[in-house]
């Protein structure tokens, strides 16, 4: 396990269990070793810490009671959805109470006429689309983890996905929320309308990584399904060619709904798993999707094929049917799963650069890979300039782990140098604490810490995340606890 310097709260497990059982029912409090171990980390497996107890509330009132109780006894608490987060956000760094929201998983209403749905936080992202599909609607933000991740987690991370190039990220699709403040009161932030009055607190708490409170009800926008799609897959002999093609497509005034790139290592992994038959010397695959009305789409697709060919594409396939579309997407959607074959552990990085700087940052990734002798696979949302270098290693080997962290640091530093950022969609969590100072001045960070202590005066709400040094409030509280 990787070292993180947040002290474990000094709490009596037996006492917690005894006090929490009346709130949620004894069946919904878990404290045995096997149970708490299940929650020791999220998708960022380098960082592990077990909560003292896990509670599984069923209502907002219960969440509120749990949080009030935590404040009374000085127990840290962490909300958790599906635990697919990739920055350690749902890991109970200081122990305490882990609040699993998976039982609050009801779709409360679907209002097609007004293009809204009201859902509980534990609802899985894809379920909303499932419910809206018969009416010709979907929920637009589509993280690659959408079959598992929850809307509560999406709100906390302000998640994106392959289609955010055209449709935007989570914050653009949430109108309102019922929210449990870190001190336990239940408040309403926004509503069904997008035109709120006063400060945009809804916007402030989206992306707050579980540190400013807990979403217990979420009003999402539904988006009409486009009448038609055109999906293409182009194969290139270099990542640079693929990146240039991306820039030229955008430069030609087109905004495809997705522009996703995968490199050779990913191709190897998906080939080994699914035998797509990509050329042996292919170094990059670019997945392009257009959506909108049917009319004029053929012409746009032809222009895109021309741009790919002009950039030395080895092959361009255009899906002719929904089955072919699904097949082309399969390589992208299975990329993460397929990587499991290549290494014991992997760390998924998440940096952003202005789109035109992609070739430069990819060179840095290659150099870092060579210098630190770490295999790095690349899959990225090229249209957004959002790279995901995936560093392959064996986490039981401390020397390798150290090299992985070094390589990560060099890549993120480069992203900032190029005018970008250290995280485009996975959050700071624990994993990027050390890089916040690269991006923000002490004055910038002070505002954020002020916001944090205003919301969470006792520093108990997911302590140790986002702010380098754990945040003064957080550390004090943990020490006191």
């Amino acid at each position: 396990m990787h070292e993180v310097d947040v002290a474990r709260a000094d709490l009596s497990i037996a006492q917690l269990v005894a006090d929490l059982a009346p709130i949620v029912g004894a069946d919904s409090v878990l404290a045995d070793d096997a149970s708490v171990m299940t929650y020791e980390c999220d998708g960022a497996t380098l960082y592990k810490a077990t909560p003292h107890v896990v509670v599984l509330p069923d209502t907002a009132a219960q969440v509120s009671e749990i949080v009030k109780y935590a404040n009374r006894v000085g127990a840290p608490f962490v909300a958790r959805g599906a635990g697919t987060g990739l920055s350690g956000g749902a890991t109970a760094l200081a122990g305490g109470i882990l609040i699993g929201l998976n039982r609050m998983n009801r779709i409360l209403s679907v209002d097609i006429e007004n293009e809204r749905a009201v859902v509980e936080p534990g609802v899985v992202n894809l379920w909303i689309t499932g419910r809206a599909t018969p009416d010709g609607y979907h929920y637009a933000p589509d993280p690659a983890s959408q079959k598992a991740c929850t809307i509560g987690g999406n709100v906390a991370e302000n998640s994106g996905g392959p289609h955010t190039l055209k449709y935007g990220v989570t914050t653009n699709h949430i109108c309102g929320m019922e929210w449990v403040m870190p001190t336990g009161e239940i408040v309403e932030l926004g509503g069904a309308s997008d035109d709120g009055v006063g400060y945009d607190i809804r916007g402030l708490v989206i992306g707050s990584e579980g540190t400013l409170g807990i979403a217990t009800k979420i009003v999402v926008k539904l988006t009409p399904n486009p009448p038609a799609y055109k999906t293409m897959l182009a194969v290139f002999a270099s990542l640079e060619d693929a990146s240039t093609a991306v820039s030229e497509i955008i430069g030609a005034g087109m905004i495809p709904s997705s522009l996703e790139v995968m490199d050779r290592l990913i191709i190897d992994a998906v080939e080994a798993a699914f035998s797509f038959g990509f050329p042996e010397d292919a170094q990059a695959v670019l997945l392009i999707e257009l959506d909108g009305v049917d009319a004029g789409m053929e012409e746009q697709a032809a222009d895109i094929v021309d741009i790919c060919n002009a950039n030395s594409a080895q092959d361009v396939q255009v899906a002719a049917s929904e089955e072919e579309r699904t097949l082309l997407w399969k390589s992208r959607k299975q990329a993460f799963g397929a990587l499991g074959r290549l290494a014991k552990s992997y760390l998924t990085q998440d940096g952003v650069v202005p789109r035109t700087r992609l070739p430069e940052v990819l060179r840095t990734v290659a150099e870092a890979s060579a210098r630190h002798d770490v295999r790095i696979a690349n899959v990225f949302h090229a249209g957004d300039g959002n790279i995901h270098p995936i560093l392959l290693f064996d986490e039981s080997d401390p020397a390798q782990t150290e090299r992985v962290l070094q390589a990560s640091g060099e890549i993120l530093t480069k992203c900032v140098e190029l005018g970008g950022t250290i995280t485009g969609e996975h959050g700071v969590g624990i994993e990027k604490l050390a890089f916040m100072d690269l991006l923000f001045s002490p004055a910038d960070l002070r505002i954020m810490r002020d916001v944090r202590s205003l919301f969470d005066p006792n520093g108990l709400c997911n302590p140790g995340k986002i702010f380098p040094g754990g945040g003064p409030a957080a550390q004090e509280a943990v020490a006191d606890g």
Binding site: D111, G190, D194, I201, G207, G253, G296
Partner: protein, 443 residues
């Protein structure tokens, strides 16, 4: 009693130099100030910070202003007002067409941004009511939007980051210049729509969009507003992707639009894209509106005139001294909101003109009446109706006499106490726009 300007002018001359300080001797119309008022026009971020420090020390209330076009928005300020103009911070900091992003200083006008990006076939996809004069700082402060919000969102959705000077003079950055960024809290959202009560925006980064190859508007005229809204509803269910679906009173004499029977409730459906995309969609829409019973349907190529008419309708209302109220709900609220306002206006000596971003659930009612009390009364009662609809009702523009009688914002849509605490953290002396935003914020 001595004028505040006598007290404040020498302080700011001493701090910023005489060139940066003038006095608006007739006061400030939109703010209801009839006495001479000091205006500072800093030429750098440092000067803005200096001005704020002096203001805090000497208890001046700073009203930042871009073009001053939206000063009729907001409650009236309290205290000794100092206008702080961003006019000299009017440069483009960085515009990279191939990245579709731009960083622009607060005092630059939207018109200038459109000209610069237009030369590259691009645009900042915002078309608010007074878009010709509005500045970037004003757009951000008011979370401005127009018809194009259906396709691109409001300022909130296209603003990627900003540099802000707080009232203690510190300069902070939020967000960034890339389209995806989740590092730390999304504090940009705090400043967008905050009416300049938390800090002075000195520059902002935006997502830029390509200008579509061609545009068109399908106009459908209904017998009454219920029918026009019904037509809009049909378009929402049709296999088309409009850039906007507006309801508009097209009978405005200045526009010279002739409709059989002199009818004026109309739906405007805008499209943008390639020739083939636009032609196909206008055909489908024309068919949907015709079969939906529209009295008259036609297609205008190029949507610029129509979007300008929207802007003009609101803008000229301000010039005339009308009151403009904006109701924000969801689609199903549009017709009930219009009905509620019509009922309230009833037999009064008052005219109403309508606009609506239908798909966004937004209705603008332009109320004109010689009696401020009568308008204030309608607005007051309207709040009760919109509360039932769970919609918001903001008076986005009104003469000072009306704003003396009503709170222009109404109840906030998140806890007021949280807003007060945020305000106190960022502007403890309530120096910025004191009294102008939601009631009780800085009381």
């Amino acid at each position: 009693m001595a004028d505040a300007s006598d007290r404040l002018e020498p302080l700011f001359v001493a701090a910023l130099g005489g060139d940066a300080v003038t006095v608006d001797s007739d006061g400030v119309d939109g703010l209801g100030i009839e006495r001479p008022t000091v205006r500072v026009t800093p030429d750098s971020v440092e000067q803005i910070a200096d001005a704020l420090r002096v203001a805090v020390e000497h208890d001046a209330v700073v009203v930042p202003t871009g073009s001053g076009s939206a000063l009729a928005l907001g409650n009236l300020p309290r205290g000794d007002v100092l206008l702080l103009s961003t006019a000299k911070l009017n440069e483009t900091v960085d515009y990279e067409p191939r990245d579709l992003t731009a960083i622009v200083q607060a005092g630059r006008t939207l018109a200038a941004v459109q000209e610069e990006t237009g030369a590259e076939g691009q645009m900042l996809a915002l078309d608010p009511p007074n878009g010709a004069s509005a500045t970037v700082g004003g757009l951000v402060a008011t979370n401005a939007s127009g018809p194009l919000r259906q396709a691109y969102g409001s300022t909130r959705d296209v603003c990627l980051g900003a540099t802000v000077v707080l009232s203690d003079g510190s300069v902070v950055k939020c967000g960034g210049r890339v389209v995806k960024n989740v590092a730390g809290y999304d504090t940009t959202r705090l400043y967008v729509g905050s009416m300049g009560t938390l800090g002075i925006v000195v520059d902002a980064a935006f997502r830029i969009h390509p200008v579509p190859e061609t545009t068109a508007v399908v106009v459908g005229v209904g017998d009454d507003w219920a029918e026009a809204a019904g037509l809009a509803r049909r378009v929402v269910g049709a296999p088309v992707e409009p850039r906007f679906v507006e309801l508009l009173d097209i009978g405005d004499a200045r526009w010279g639009i002739e409709v059989a029977g002199g009818l004026s409730p109309a739906v405007l459906v805008g499209f943008g894209g390639s020739e083939a995309q636009v032609t196909h969609q206008t055909n489908v829409t024309r068919e949907a509106l015709t079969s939906g019973g529209a009295v008259d349907v036609w297609v205008d190529r190029d949507d610029a005139d129509w979007r300008a008419r929207f802007a003009d309708a609101v803008h000229s209302a301000t010039e005339r001294g009308d009151a403009v109220v904006k109701v924000g709900g969801v689609m199903a609220d549009v017709l009930p909101a219009m009905q509620a306002i019509s009922d309230l206006v009833g037999a009064r000596d008052m005219d109403v003109q309508w606009l609506s971003h239908y798909t966004s659930g937004v209705v603008y009612a332009i109320l004109s009446s010689p009696s401020a009390a009568s308008i204030a009364d309608v607005l007051g009662r309207l709040r009760r109706e919109t509360t039932k609809l769970r919609a918001t009702a903001v008076v986005v523009s009104a003469p000072v006499e009306v704003r003396r009688l009503v709170d222009v914002w109404g109840a906030p849509t998140a806890p007021l106490e949280l807003m007060r605490q945020l305000k106190r953290k960022l502007d403890p002396t309530a120096t910025l726009n004191r009294g102008r935003f939601v009631r009780g914020l800085d009381a």
